[in-house]
Symmetry: C2
Subunit: 392 residues, 2 copies
């Protein structure tokens, strides 16, 4: 449900300095589980890198995280999310690069209680051959994010950049920053040489449990660097085709976590699937349950119905909002996936196809609306919701 | 909806020679759009090969078509679909190897009017480096199938084995056999170096139109030979995970056909997606329509809503039958995908998870039942349904 973005003309008329808007009265809190932030230029990472890697970044960058350009809107952005005369950064990710604008448009403008910063520009670090350089990039982006974003507004929470393809290096980074109160999760990029339930990654989940962090996952590196092509039929031609393949970018990991028995090994782990939509979740639950009944002798470590693990351990962000031709379908999909426990609202700011909370889930009854807009996310990321709102 | 297969004991008691069962009275015809047939031993192909390739097949085979063993049931089969003491063939595909048994159990036993033979053992031919050898294998399998299967029962129809990765070689084979009255389509394996809407394959569709053939597509070669891994996260560990990835094996091609504009170029082409289930179809239609509205400036050759192309040109076989936790969901999925025009029944004989027509879609109202069990397939594959049944 992409909200009508402001026209290019109105963006041109934007004043550079704005007052934070006054908070509107609303009966429920909002946690926005997908807000992309980043640097306007890679040089902002230089202070956090050794000389060797600073020079490498300056001279050779570290590869784009995207195989398919995010080419809707204005260079992938809401047209009003770029200031007049500014050129958004190229390379991986379409990320808000201006804290003041994000505060004005999103935090104040949409009256968000908590925003989970999900980055984007460093997703490709997990697709690099050079693990040490990749780890350095993640570390620099984490330090940069904590200092230039998280420290500036107490509504911001952060998912750590890690290089999942170096599990022990990732654990070091999780142990370095994972106990900071604003750090609520780690970020995994969907593209990977092997699915995330695989034994290879288990040290990462052990570290997540140790620090009470969720594992968040976001598309964006499929077919890049050391990762395989985005589909079983290679590289589609058009951006819109890559968008159609997204459900499987996530579904392969859902199945992997469950059938590798990850939640038996890590019983407090939560996994959040971000920017994948959700119409694919219930049918996958049904297929997993049906086939597990016929094939469970092959995976005896999977002790319960797959859909039960999903309900207990997996959460799905709402954006891009489904728009079924049959209006009742949206309610049914939410019911079938037990959205009261599994669905979390997200705007996906500043992307061109963002979802405006004022125009999203407007027909949801209480208490389901509260679960979707705030409580599921609060439980997943360990957030304390404003008490006034929570009991309103 | 896998029907309860006979026990191993009852299979042991099977008599070798059986009389064809008498046809049961039923108010509607059945076209079974997915019946896997094949050879019991590769030597059955030798008479159709040159000495060079016969020796190569004997000594080195041509690679398995499957990355993930079809390991439910008895070696992937219905337990009663293998005769006592017989060992089903290894290698690619789980295929009926005994015409008499297929006639008894399926054609007579389930009172099938037409069965579309889909093979399976040669799907991997499109994943080979050696195009000439691959073409020879396809040609041999086609000659073998016509002589040993198609010629033995007038209810059998055939989808040609071709090597889609050599489009000009495939066209030669289509021109050689495509006008035989029992040949109703070509068979494409889902795994491929690039999606099937790509310009690379267009000569094949031109040949299909010339001979009035449907393009059928079946999973089975993902991650094999020259094909990329089955998912954007590489190779899942377990067979059941590969089953969960199947919808995308098909969805990538659906999107490719539509957004490459294939149906504008080949306006009479029909594409049949076999053994992929169908709960994923309607959500994909909605996503395609939504994103096309936002991105259609990028693909101006796509002149209509993606869902309209799908309704006019794409057909989906029913097996493996969905079993949603919510019983009304099945009817809704059929309604949402316009199943009256897009859904075709299939048993998937002789696979372990086959669907018995007597236990499938039992609640469908007329005339929808007739559309799904027969008429959609008859229109897709150019079959003339029995006139008595058609008007019953």
């Amino acid at each position: 449900m992409a909200a009508p973005a402001a026209s290019v003309d109105s963006a041109t008329e934007r004043t550079e300095s704005v007052e934070p808007r006054r908070r509107k009265k609303r009966s429920f809190p909002i946690v926005d589980t997908d807000v992309h932030h980043g640097y306007a230029h890679k040089s902002e990472l230089y202070p956090y890198l050794s000389q060797t890697y600073r020079e490498r970044l300056e001279d050779f960058d570290f590869g784009s995280s995207l195989s398919y350009n995010n080419n809707g809107g204005q260079r992938g952005y809401r047209v009003d999310a770029i200031r007049t005369g500014e050129t958004p950064p190229g390379g991986g990710g379409v990320c808000a690069v201006d804290f003041e604008l994000l505060r004005e448009q999103l935090l104040d403008g949409s009256d968000i209680d908590f925003a989970i910063l999900t980055g984007g520009q460093t997703y490709g670090a997990s697709a690099m051959m050079d693990l040490a350089y990749s780890n350095a990039i993640c570390r620099a982006f984490n330090d940069y994010s904590m200092e230039h974003w998280v420290a500036r507004d107490d509504r911001l929470r952060y998912t750590l950049a890690i290089n999942a393809q170096d599990p022990l290096g990732a654990v070091e980074e999780i142990d370095r920053l994972g106990s900071h109160p604003a750090v609520v999760g780690i970020m995994l990029a969907c593209g990977a040489p092997r699915p995330y339930g695989n034994k290879f990654y288990h040290p990462i989940y052990e570290a997540c449990e140790r620090h009470g962090l969720a594992a968040a996952m976001h598309f964006g590196t499929e077919g890049s660097g050391i990762n395989p092509p985005p589909t079983s039929a290679g590289y589609p031609t058009n951006y819109i085709e890559a968008r159609m393949a997204r459900p499987n970018f996530y579904a392969v990991h859902v199945a992997s976590y469950i059938f590798e028995g990850v939640f038996e090994l890590f019983p407090t782990l939560k996994v959040a699937f971000i920017e994948g939509g959700f119409s694919w979740v219930a049918p996958l639950m049904w297929r997993m349950d049906l086939d597990w009944k016929g094939l469970r002798h092959q995976t005896p470590w999977v002790k319960r119905l797959p859909s039960e693990y999903l309900r207990d351990h997996m959460r799905f962000s709402s954006q891009p909002m489904e728009e079924p031709a049959d209006p009742k379908a949206l309610d049914l999909f939410i019911e079938w996936m037990d959205g009261g426990h599994t669905l979390m609202f997200a705007t996906d700011y500043p992307h061109w196809d963002w979802d405006d909370p004022a125009m999203s889930f407007t027909g949801l009854p209480e208490p389901l609306r509260r679960r979707v807009f705030a409580e599921n996310a609060a439980e997943t990321f360990g957030l304390t919701l404003p008490s006034g709102d929570a009991n309103a």
